[in-house]
Symmetry: C2
Subunit: 260 residues, 2 copies
DNA sequence: CGTGAATGTCCAATATATTGAACATATGAT
DNA sequence: ATCATATGTTCAATATATTGGACATTCACG
């Protein structure tokens, strides 16, 4: 009951943690839910969830929407998120880089970051192909499933990485397990080479390219291409060059934060 | 100690409320602060603020940034805000409407909403004039100071409005007090006419136009123009027509929410 | 060096938040 | 009508979160 305690056998949950659990759950679901449903699905006491939901409603963090007492993320969160975006102003340049990538490659281009201990697509430009390959923006995905994942944890030591990634995230959607040792080796390779590419391990027809967007000396984000396997292999060098160009234009100096 | 209690002479503050007070404070300041500074400036016990800040850091709601242990809004808030924006998808159309307004009028065009009991500019296109007239996006402003404010509270009864707007918000920046009765009369006028225009009461050289963006039967937001007084008066009818057109394109049906 | 301000940590006391369980109500199926 | 399920409300018990204050450290400055 020390290393992996978290919220397992514990007695009471702290309101704040539970509150953000509710917010994250609504984000995952991407739809308004009744407090009762939330309680059932996250396994929290109903009275607690009702209490917290009411508090969050009073603060504008949640809003009634969809009728029948259903709640979803509120406007206040939009304002807070906008303030974050404004402070770490990556959006404008990011959109430009994705635009350029999409023009140059006609493939699906993504800007990805860590969301806690998960990987998430922050922004995306879909490719110009008749069959589009795309993930949903804002969905949380286990880090080991993605090419970007290798780069986003490369600043940690092996021990830190294994402590950081939930063990069950090494299980692929098909059910097979990815050997953590193999994963760590790929992380170090990605760190050395400054990029990572592979045939996706979550499907059988895509090839993924990822390069880091550096900030303060580590990969704060990645730029990725998701391509059909044959195209990816055929254009590998050109695509990598495009990605590196784009990432360089976004990367910050290695030592200084954006604002002093 | 009942109507205006809130957090005045109370004993202990609830962690959740304090937490969002911290987040809102950082948003207002628009810069990273040390926990100690936050505690001093919002008048909260230091030990509480340190405790909460650590909790929020663990959740990714706050982040260390700017060095020296300073904290600011975190990435998680960006993700949550993006989910809100995605759900109530007003951004794309909104930008288009502002673009069109800016083209047609060459004046500063704004998209505004309520943030709790304050008015805030959510998005803005600055005018093409040599001397630009602009407010900061994301700043909270007392409702009675703005033309939009008349529309944004028009769905409430007079009593609700007076209970909703903090009494001190009727004091203008110059120090004079705006008569709540006069304000309520203007609210009703705005409601009847479907727009509100006036020479700004917070400066001496602008004229403001506001029209409602309707959703579920009330003004969910406003579109505004901020113009030099002479231009505003000279082009009044044309500007109003442009605004109404734009607002109509954004407005939703009166009864149904966007997604059932 | 001594002093005061700014910053962060620690801890015990107690005010209270979280929780389980009981209760209330509506709805739909049999 | 009867039962089961889903939903929301209420309340008292107690585990604990919030808080004041003591303490430690750093820094600037006379």
């Amino acid at each position: 009951m020390d290393a992996i305690a978290d919220d397992a056998g514990g007695k009471r949950a702290r309101g704040l943690d539970r509150a953000f659990e509710i917010l994250d759950f609504l984000r995952q679901k991407r739809q308004a839910l009744k407090p009762n449903e939330i309680a059932a699905q996250i396994g929290a006491p109903r009275s607690s969830v009702y209490e917290l939901v009411n508090l969050l409603l009073r603060n504008g963090i949640l809003e009634f929407t969809g009728g029948d007492g259903r709640v979803y993320l509120g406007r206040k969160l939009y304002f807070l998120g906008a303030a974050y975006e404004n402070h770490f102003d990556f959006t404008r340049e990011c959109e430009a880089a994705l635009e350029r990538l999409a023009d140059e490659t006609r493939e699906t281009a993504q800007f990805c970051m860590l969301d806690g201990d998960k990987y998430t697509v922050v922004r995306m430009r879909e490719g110009a192909r008749p069959f589009r390959i795309s993930t949903d923006v804002g969905q949380s995905v286990p880090i080991p499933w993605t090419a970007s994942g290798r780069l986003l944890v490369a600043h940690m030591t092996n021990e830190e990485i294994l402590a950081f990634i939930p063990p069950q995230d090494f299980q692929l959607p098909g059910g097979e397990w990815l050997d953590p040792k193999a994963f760590l080796a790929e992380v170090r390779q990605a760190e050395r080479e400054g990029f990572f590419t592979f045939n996706s391990i979550v499907d059988s027809f895509t090839h993924c390219f990822a390069v880091p967007v550096m900030d303060e000396g580590h990969a704060a984000a990645t730029l990725c291409l998701v391509t059909p396997r044959d195209d990816g292999l055929a254009n590998r060098d050109r695509y990598l060059a495009c990605l590196k160009d784009a990432a360089a234009s976004l990367s910050q100096a290695p030592t200084r934060p954006k604002r002093g």
